[in-house]
């Protein structure tokens, strides 16, 4: 009986229509370089006033999941990830698209995203309290090690040599150190500019390093129709090819889906970090790690699954403790409160029906996404026929608007342009860009947690190993870093630049 009511609530026409519209809206916003899932949700808030609570939450959920997927569209077609969550595997996606398989790549992303989202919501529905229990044991010590481990992904992700990946990562960390320091409140590298007090967030950094740098690269080449000459495979081949890829990688999908959900549930880690870690793990465990970064489906499948699974996971702390897991759930909590619902353990008993419908809507959104995401892929492959001389200026304009919208200040536009030049110079020096973006994303997290832990332990470094989980994470992280440094030293000694030159040719 109860199941019937639940199904009736989930498949209510108005709710389905909301979900469909929001997935279309999410694909549009997500595909725009620089417009993030968070921004899509923030713009949605005024509309939620006119919705009932389930509808409002379904709208947010549908928008986020599709926006995170749609970030792959511009990533694959233009080498400009639409959201930071797509940055980890952008090189692979773009290489495949240029090799004449743009639609296959995007359908692989779409299927992976949908399955990842479904794994996430199933875990969320069955294990929320348990997940919350685990996440609640994370203090600054564990968060520090997790973020440091995340940084090591930079080296696994980039296709270039280890020293070049490190160089890129440190450029990102240097950018992250701009602004008021978290522990003592001292401004660094702000040159008296008030707008820099907040630091340089990853969104302008991503727009600059990826989008503007790519525009500059395009302006440099003399071939005016390069994009137009890309071949687009027929839909039937693309669908069949994509489904084949997904079927081959069941284990990877399961691993990334479960892992992504868990990472999303942790405080301070979201879809972007989930994608990086899943990609790095995938490469580590792969039989063909040398193909990563040059157009390999394996990383796209795993990264794409993990970031959508993380979207579901991020709801765990929000629902159980009323503590937002990321900026999207922070807005969602605000919307729930506005509807007179207080997130917290009581919501599972007092509004059980609402929570169950929410999970149902979550599930439906991930299925409906296949339809609207498919439409978005079809529409976006037309982009490839637009002459570059028209496409690139439009992308530049959108990037500038995106940058301005984040800080509401012209300084952001200058930051984006400056970083664009930096990104271009990095490309010339054959330094990969993705690790720098990871550095910007994680730099502040690492520093903040390091300082907090140091203050708690009064400067005693062994404090990082005092807690059980922290000690395990710490040992793993140190082992990984030791291995990487060893590899870096070996490559420098043997003069290994050959791998990166190969990457550049693709």
């Amino acid at each position: 009986m109860e199941l019937v009511t639940l199904l009736a609530a989930v498949f209510e026409p108005q709710l389905l229509l909301t979900i469909l519209l929001c997935t279309l809206y999410g694909s549009f916003v997500g595909a725009m370089p620089g417009l993030t899932a968070t921004m899509a949700v923030a713009l949605l808030v005024p509309f939620t006033y006119f919705m009932d609570p389930v509808q409002a939450v379904a709208a947010i959920v549908a928008t986020t999941t599709t926006a995170i997927f749609a970030g792959d569209i511009s990533g694959a077609l233009l080498r400009m990830p639409g959201t930071p969550a797509s940055a980890a595997y952008v090189e692979d996606a773009h290489a495949l698209a240029r090799a004449g398989r743009p639609r296959t790549t995007l359908f692989v992303s779409l299927f992976a995203a949908s399955i990842g989202g479904i794994i996430g919501v199933l875990l969320l529905a069955s294990a929320t309290p348990l997940l919350a229990r685990i996440a609640s044991r994370f203090s600054s010590d564990e968060a520090f090690w997790l973020a440091t481990l995340g940084l090591s992904c930079a080296v696994f992700v980039g296709g270039a040599s280890v020293p070049r990946n490190f160089a890129s990562l440190f450029i990102g960390l240097a950018i992250a150190s701009v602004g008021i320091d978290v522990a003592v409140g001292h401004p660094r590298f702000t040159f008296g500019i008030n707008d820099l007090y907040d630091g340089i967030s990853f969104i302008p950094a991503m727009i600059g390093l990826f989008a503007i740098a790519e525009i500059l690269r395009n302006a440099e080449t003399s071939d005016p129709t390069r994009l137009g000459q890309l071949s687009v495979e027929p839909l039937r081949t693309a669908l069949a090819g994509a489904w084949g890829q997904i079927r081959q990688r069941k284990l990877g999908i399961l691993r990334s889906g479960v892992g992504g959900t868990f990472i999303g549930a942790l405080p301070g880690a979201g879809a972007d970090i989930a994608a990086w870690i899943a990609y790095a793990v995938s490469r580590r465990l792969s039989k063909t790690p040398e193909k990563f970064g040059r157009g390999h489906y394996e990383g796209i499948v795993d990264g794409g699954t993990a970031n959508n699974a993380a979207v579901a996971g991020a709801w765990t702390p929000a629902l159980v403790f009323g503590i937002p897991g990321d900026s999207v759930t922070a807005i969602a909590i605000g919307v729930l409160l506005m509807k007179g619902l207080t997130p917290g353990p009581n919501i599972f008993s007092s509004d059980a029906m609402l929570v169950e419908t929410l999970f149902g809507a979550f599930l439906v959104a991930n299925v409906v996404m296949i339809v609207s995401g498919g439409l978005a892929i079809m529409a976006a492959s037309r982009l490839l026929r637009v002459p570059r001389s028209m496409l690139m200026p439009s992308v530049l304009l959108l990037s500038m608007i995106g940058a301005y919208a984040i800080m509401g200040s012209v300084t952001a536009v200058w930051i984006v342009l400056g970083l664009g030049l930096l990104g271009y110079l990095m490309t010339l020096a054959r330094i990969p860009i993705a690790p720098a973006v990871l550095g910007v994303v994680l730099g502040e997290v690492v520093e903040d947690n390091f300082m907090v832990s140091m203050m708690k332990a009064q400067g005693d470094l062994t404090g990082f190993f005092d807690r059980g989980t922290a000690a395990v994470l710490g040992v793993v992280t140190l082992a990984v870093w030791g291995l990487l440094l060893f590899r870096a030293a070996r490559e420098v000694i043997s003069g290994g630049g050959s791998r990166s030159r190969e990457t550049e040719k693709t």
Partner: protein
């Protein structure tokens, strides 16, 4: 900087004098989108109150109220953005209790005289929380331990010198302990501090009781005290510091809606009137009840006097705990 401030104040005086003549024409309404600046992050108490209020103003006046979180600089960024905007009514924001503390600790020259208070939105008393597995089950037990073992315990809730830090340090000082007898661990707001508390990273948290309410109800945290003179309706059993402590120490943060200094009086009183009506509505009462908070309101004059008085008392606390610059 100082010169600029006095200039703004002078303009405010002139504008105030001119507007006194047009006292009763509170008929201003926006004819384009208004920017509503929140100096604190999305998801926090200030953010929730501001978003609710902004949405109701939007409904009332039929113009978009765009909520912008200008965080950073321990509140300096957002408060500066409010104070430095054109006082034309198209930029307002949530000025919070930090306007009374930031200038004492030397973060900025900005004071409550650089803004035009429009309405009181919320009063947010602090609390003393411990994790459910903590050895302490009363505030006196906690204070005794801190008195005998200064520096042994840690607490968190906000940045160094932030309002919840003053709540703890001021309470310790009032009870005759060293203000750092419980060491302060800065955090980027109440949410990460509460995460630290339940993960066992810190021993005590002193955020607003409303911010810790979810955890207390879930049984993951225990509220040892409410730094107020009236019990909270949603958690009536939490002991009041006004009754249990010898010093009768209390501390509450507040949230106002304010504009830049020198706002024309007809604009200011139109805002005050509109917000008064919102605060009297059932929808606002329901929203407040859902957060376990009481509906509060003050006239513009009362609010100005309240902010001036808070400035003085908080200045004394900051002086006493040695954070003054």
């Amino acid at each position: 900087m100082l010169k600029k401030t006095s200039l703004v104040t002078a303009t405010a005086l002139i504008a105030g004098a001119g507007a006194a003549a047009a006292q009763d024409s509170c008929d201003w309404t926006p004819d384009r989108a208004v920017t509503y600046i929140v100096p604190w992050g999305a998801g926090g108490g200030t953010d929730a109150n501001s978003r609710k209020l902004a949405s109701m103003l939007e409904e009332k006046w039929g113009q978009p109220f765009n909520v912008v979180n200008r965080t950073g600089g321990n509140g300096v960024t957002g408060h500066s953005a409010i104070a430095r905007a054109d006082p034309d009514g198209y930029t307002v924001g949530s000025v919070t209790v930090e306007i009374n503390t930031m200038h004492w600790v030397g973060l900025t020259d900005l004071t409550y005289e650089d803004v035009t208070p429009l309405a009181l939105v919320d009063i947010v008393p602090a609390s003393v929380l411990v994790a459910d597995d903590s050895q302490f089950d009363s505030l006196s037990g906690l204070l005794d331990h801190a008195r005998e073992n200064p520096g042994d315990l840690t607490a968190s809730g906000t940045s160094q010198g932030g309002i919840w830090h003053l709540a703890l340090a001021g309470m310790l000082n009032a009870e005759g302990l060293e203000p750092d007898a419980i060491r302060w661990i800065p955090s980027q707001g109440a949410a990460p501090a509460l995460q630290e508390l339940i993960a066992g990273g810190v021993d005590v948290a002193t955020p607003a009781l409303s911010e810790g309410k979810g955890l207390v109800e879930a049984g993951d945290a225990r509220a040892l005290a409410y730094m107020h003179s009236e019990p909270m309706e949603a958690l009536p059993d939490v002991p009041l510091t006004a009754e249990t402590l010898d010093s009768g120490w209390t501390l509450a943060a507040y949230i106002t809606t304010s504009g830049p200094a020198g706002m024309p009086d007809n604009v200011a009183c139109s805002y005050a009137q509109a917000i008064d009506e919102i605060i009297a509505s059932d929808e606002w009462a329901e929203f407040k009840a859902s957060r376990g908070a009481e509906v509060v309101s003050m006239s513009r004059d009362e609010l100005s006097a309240y902010m001036a008085e808070k400035d003085e008392t908080l200045g004394e606390v900051i002086e006493a705990v040695g954070l003054a610059q």
